[in-house]
Every structure is written in structure tokens, then in C-alpha cells.
């Protein structure tokens, strides 16, 4: 299993895609255990979310039921995702990880610093789209996955159609207001799926 620490901005994107993560409640595979560690077959990854990241993952945009042309903020509830094991809760633990966390918090916000500290200390990957976090991660030898790379994985693993990929990208743009930066390596792939629409 490949473990990944996910920061709030990337997690918001995955939730906005509305198809990459399974939707809770899942059918119970193991009724005895309420918390199951779930490798997401769609991504081939285990997604870990530090407590501070969960507290930052507040809102996503959604259609306004009174006026579908408009969007309104809707609160994110991660509890069902944790209960069903789609996401794994985690926290900064131990002396080394705490030292990494405090050190990174000098440059990053707490959520990003916690993700990087955990990824660094446990040899996990880091899921982020943030330039500064990526720069620091690369310096620390931590491998970074972006939203676009996660989408590519999902598309490859689940063999979805081009239209489904385009729908996921559009959802992320519309409901999470995210577009990869113009100089990012995945921007061409991202835009090509929108142009095909």
C-alpha cells in the first residue's frame, strides 16, 4: 500500500470532483470494525488526513437549490469518510515528527506543515498543489502528488471515459475553484480534457 498525507486544498479538490473518492456510506465489508483501513482501488493509495487538515477542510461550493445557476458554500463533513475508512485520520506523533512539524510551520500553515512532517518522517507521499509546500517537500526528498496526478491515476485505474474525466475536472473548477497553475506540467493534460468538451 502506498500511503499519502493529503493537505486541505488537495482534499477539497478530490471532494469537489465528486467521483474520485467513494461516497459514504459504503456497503459494510467488515461489520465488526467501524474503522477500516481502505486502499482506494480507484487511486491505489491510502489517503491520510491529519487532524489539523480536517479542521481546515471547511467548505466547498455547491448548487444553490433556490437558484441552480448560482453556487453557495456548503459545509464539508469528513466524519462519514473517516468512519468508512475512505480517509484515514492521523496526527503528528513522536519527538522527530513534532520537530519536523514545528520547523515546517515556520514557513507553512499548520495543515501543510503537519502533512509534510508526517510524510517526511513516515516515508509517505504528500498530496498538495501548493508551490511553497512542494518546494520544501522536494528539498526534504518527499515525493509530491498533485490533484491532476491523482486524477490521472483515477482515470487510468478505473478506465473512465473522456467525458467522465472532463466532468471531474469541471466539477473541481466549479466547486473548488481550482485550476493548475499555467506553468505546471499537468496543465496541458487538464486543459485538453476541457477543450474536448
Amino acid at each position: 500500500m502506498t500511503d499519502v498525507a493529503v493537505d486541505a486544498c488537495c482534499l477539497i479538490n478530490l471532494l469537489a470532483a465528486n467521483c474520485v473518492l467513494p461516497k459514504p456510506p459504503l456497503q459494510k465489508v467488515n461489520p465488526k470494525g467501524s474503522h477500516r483501513t481502505h486502499e482506494l482501488t480507484s487511486l491505489g493509495l491510502v489517503l491520510h488526513v491529519p487532524a489539523v487538515v480536517a479542521s481546515e477542510t471547511l467548505y466547498i461550493l455547491g448548487p444553490d437549490h433556490n437558484d441552480p445557476a448560482k453556487l453557495r458554500k456548503s459545509p464539508i463533513d469528513l466524519d462519514p469518510y473517516f468512519t468508512d475508512g475512505i480517509l484515514q485520520p492521523c496526527d503528528v506523533e513522536g519527538e522527530d515528527e513534532t520537530a519536523f512539524f514545528v520547523g515546517f510551520a515556520n514557513r507553512l500553515d499548520d495543515g501543510e506543515a503537519a502533512c509534510l512532517a508526517i510524510a517526511k518522517n513516515r516515508n509517505w507521499l504528500l498530496a498538495t498543489d501548493d508551490i511553497l509546500a512542494t518546494t520544501l517537500a522536494v528539498r526534504q526528498g518527499v515525493v509530491v502528488l498533485t490533484t491532476a496526478e491523482l486524477l490521472k491515476r483515477w482515470a487510468t485505474n478505473t478506465k473512465v471515459t473522456e467525458q467522465e474525466i472532463a466532468a471531474a475536472i469541471q466539477s473541481i473548477q466549479r466547486f473548488a475553484r481550482f485550476v493548475p497553475r499555467s506553468n505546471s506540467p499537468e496543465v496541458a493534460w487538464w486543459l485538453s480534457h476541457l477543450q474536448n468538451e
Partner: protein, 406 residues
């Protein structure tokens, strides 16, 4: 350990001490929470002993702060919060906790602003008016009127209404004007620091017309009380001191210059032979002030009988309803806690990779998705093609136009 050595023990100590004092905790209490002796804790505050990572974590939780807030670089602004807090302590009627929370937020906003200016290498240019001493037996209202005219002339404003007041006071004077929720009876506060110049906090709960008066009132204090931080109530009981009377008159004179009001009043009366409540409402809309402020200004200039406002108020005049009936359009007024320049500097720093997405959301006092919307708003420009088709243009903030011209 990565970046741990970048945390300066002295700066960290200053931030810890500031957080402790803001929460009214003793050194003994914090030391006990940390499980260390008071001398050891004092050494941490003084920067003589580097706090251990787990101690920093404990302290952040104890103070209800994010770890980043304690270990970020840049010393805290030293001469802002303590002075205003001392003023607040003397204000027995005010809602203490809410007022202290407002002072804390002013401190945070001011520090964030300084950090953004440092990151983007964009210092604010100060262009403050000279200080004025109020001599005994002088007519304070007349003095304020004359200084307001001087200030308008100095800033090239003539005697026309100033709609984008907050932006002008920042661009042309160098005032940092923030909005935050304060107790309802408080109009705003003002402090001058050697590092950040004049910082003003205006009560965000009040409507835009009132906020405009409040920011100019605090500007008036910059002129007569530069080094004396102050917190202002909406109204005072009893006779106001001269500096308060100056600030109050300065605000009204600046917003509604006598020459301009006189000329417009004259033209209305000459054309219609009357001056009605609808004219009063239109005039107040024209100067972007409340009907009350407009009416009191007319009274002050002897263009309306004394007591007119009181009589209108007693008769149940509803200015908002009147504005709706007259179909007066609302003025554009940004409601954000920080000025537009602050927003653009935050977006610039983010685009340059100087701050992270999480930090951007903190700087902009919102959630990550709202922060992204603000970035898109700043970077996107609606362009109308020659054939009339509209499309959005995306800009790169850090592209130098001067470099391209060479």
C-alpha cells in the same frame, strides 16, 4: 532538523510573551502548564533558552494559537497592542473581551500587512500631514474646517465628494485602515507605531456611511494626537475634549466641504425655490454620508435651522426607506477587513510562491475555496473584443512591464 534553526529564540520569546499578556496569564501559570520552573519559562520568553518543539506545541494549544503564529518569522509589532490595551482597560463601559479581541485582531492584521509588504518588497509610502497643536481659546470647529480644506488641497481632492475614501487615504496618505467587529458603541481606534505608521480599526458592524466618518475621525486624531493611541465611542456624554471635537468636525468638514455644500444647496434652492427632505436625501447620497450627518452639516453651515435633524428624527424619517423611494443607487463599498492593497499583495505573494494556500486563506481571513475565488477575481480581467464578444483575461501578477519596455 529542517527550518528549526530558522526560528529565532528571541522572536519566539516575544511572541510567547505577547500571547501570554493578551490572555492575562501570569508567567507562573504558563510555566506550570509547561511543567517547568518559572525561571526556565522566563528564559524562554527572553529568548535565552530555545523552547523545545513539544513545548511550542503545548504553548500554541494553551494560547489557542496556530503553531505557525508562534514560530513565523518577523518580530511582533511592539508598540501597538499594549498601548491600546491600556486605553481599553480605562474604558469601564465598553465590552472588555470584545474590545480586546478587536485590539488583538488589529495587531494581527498589522503584522500580516507588514509581512506581505516584506515578502513582495512593497513598502507603503507615507505622506502624513504636519501635526497640529490646538491652542487654548481657539474655535476648534473652525480650525478643523480649515485643516480639512488644507488636507483636501494637499491630496488634490478639490471640494468634490470622495467616494473611494479608504483607498485614497491609503494610497495618498499611507493610512492602514482595517475593519473588524467591535462592541456596537465603539466607532473605531487609532494607534501610531514607528514601524507601521498610522493603523486604524473601524467597527465593521456599522454601515458604510458611519465607517467613513469613523476613519476620518481617526485621521483627525493623527493630526492632533499622533502619538496618543485612542479608542473612540460613537458618542460621548458631557462636554467633549478639544481633540475629540476637532476629530469630529474634521471628519464632517472633509466629507462635506463647506464651499461644495453651499454651492449645491444654492443651486437647488435657486432652481426649485425650496429645499425638501428629498433634496436632503439626494445630497447625503451625493456625498456618501448619512442623512443625519448631512443634516447636521447643513445646520452647522446655517443652511438649515438648528434642531432640524432632531425634528426629522422625531417625525420618524427613515433614511433607508427614503433612499429606496428615490431609487438612489448604492455606492460601491468593499466590506473586507483589510484594504484592497493588502488583498493584492497577498495574491502577489501567493502567485510568487512566497506563501502557501493555507497561509493565503489565513491572510485573507477566509476558507481555502473563498481564497481561491479572491485570487481568481484579482487575476482575471473582463475584456471586450472589437466584435463585442466578452472574454476573461488571466494575468501573471509578477510579470514586469518595465522590463518588457526596455
Amino acid at each position: 532538523m529542517p527550518s528549526l534553526e530558522e526560528i529565532d529564540p528571541r522572536t519566539l520569546g516575544l511572541r510567547i510573551a505577547e500571547a501570554r499578556k493578551a490572555r492575562g496569564k501570569t508567567q507562573e501559570e504558563v510555566a506550570s502548564h509547561l511543567g517547568c520552573s518559572r525561571p526556565t519559562y522566563i528564559a524562554i520568553e527572553k529568548g535565552e533558552r530555545q523552547a523545545k518543539p513539544e513545548e511550542i506545541l503545548k504553548l500554541a494549544r494553551f494560547f489557542g494559537l496556530r503553531v505557525h503564529e508562534l514560530v513565523r518569522s518577523g518580530e511582533p509589532v511592539m508598540d501597538l497592542q499594549p498601548h491600546l490595551r491600556a486605553v481599553a482597560e480605562k474604558m469601564k463601559d465598553a465590552d472588555g473581551p470584545a474590545l480586546r479581541a478587536g485590539i488583538d485582531e488589529l495587531q494581527k492584521l498589522a503584522e500580516d500587512y507588514r509581512e506581505l509588504e516584506n515578502l513582495t518588497k512593497s513598502p507603503l509610502r507615507y505622506n502624513y500631514p504636519p501635526e497640529v497643536n490646538i491652542a487654548a481659546r481657539i474655535d476648534v470647529a473652525q480650525l478643523a474646517e480649515s485643516i480639512a480644506v488644507q488636507e483636501r488641497n494637499r491630496l488634490g481632492l478639490g471640494d468634490q465628494p470622495v467616494i473611494h475614501l479608504r483607498s485614497i487615504l491609503e494610497w495618498d496618505v499611507g493610512l492602514r485602515i482595517f475593519y473588524w467587529e467591535l462592541p456596537a458603541a465603539i466607532a473605531g481606534m487609532f494607534a501610531y507605531t514607528s514601524e507601521l505608521g498610522c493603523c486604524i480599526l473601524v467597527n465593521r458592524k456599522h454601515p458604510p456611511v458611519r465607517r467613513r466618518v469613523s476613519m476620518l475621525h481617526e485621521y483627525g486624531h493623527l493630526i492632533v494626537d499622533r502619538y496618543k493611541p485612542g479608542i473612540d465611542y460613537l458618542s460621548y456624554s458631557g462636554r467633549k475634549p478639544a481633540n475629540e471635537r476637532f476629530a469630529e468636525s474634521f471628519a464632517l468638514s472633509f466629507l462635506m466641504p463647506a464651499s461644495s455644500v453651499l454651492s449645491r444647496f444654492n443651486s437647488i434652492v435657486t432652481a426649485t425655490g425650496d429645499f425638501q427632505v428629498s433634496d436632503l436625501c439626494r445630497l447625503s447620497h451625493f456625498y456618501f454620508v448619512s442623512v443625519e450627518a448631512m443634516c447636521l452639516r447643513l445646520e452647522q453651515l446655517d443652511l438649515a435651522p438648528r434642531g432640524t435633524w432632531r425634528s426629522l428624527k422625531e417625525s420618524g424619517l427613515a433614511p433607508q426607506t427614503a433612499a429606496t423611494l428615490l431609487e438612489l443607487p448604492s455606492h460601491p463599498e468593499a466590506d473586507r477587513p483589510y484594504p484592497d492593497r493588502y488583498l493584492y499583495l497577498a495574491v502577489q505573494a501567493f502567485e510568487q510562491g512566497e506563501i502557501s494556500q493555507g497561509q493565503l486563506a489565513r491572510y485573507l481571513r477566509c476558507d481555502p475555496v473563498s481564497a481561491r475565488e479572491l485570487v481568481a477575481e484579482c487575476l482575471t480581467n473582463l475584456h471586450v473584443e472589437d466584435d463585442g464578444e466578452q472574454r476573461n483575461l488571466q494575468f501573471e501578477f509578477h510579470r514586469s512591464l518595465l522590463a518588457e519596455a526596455k
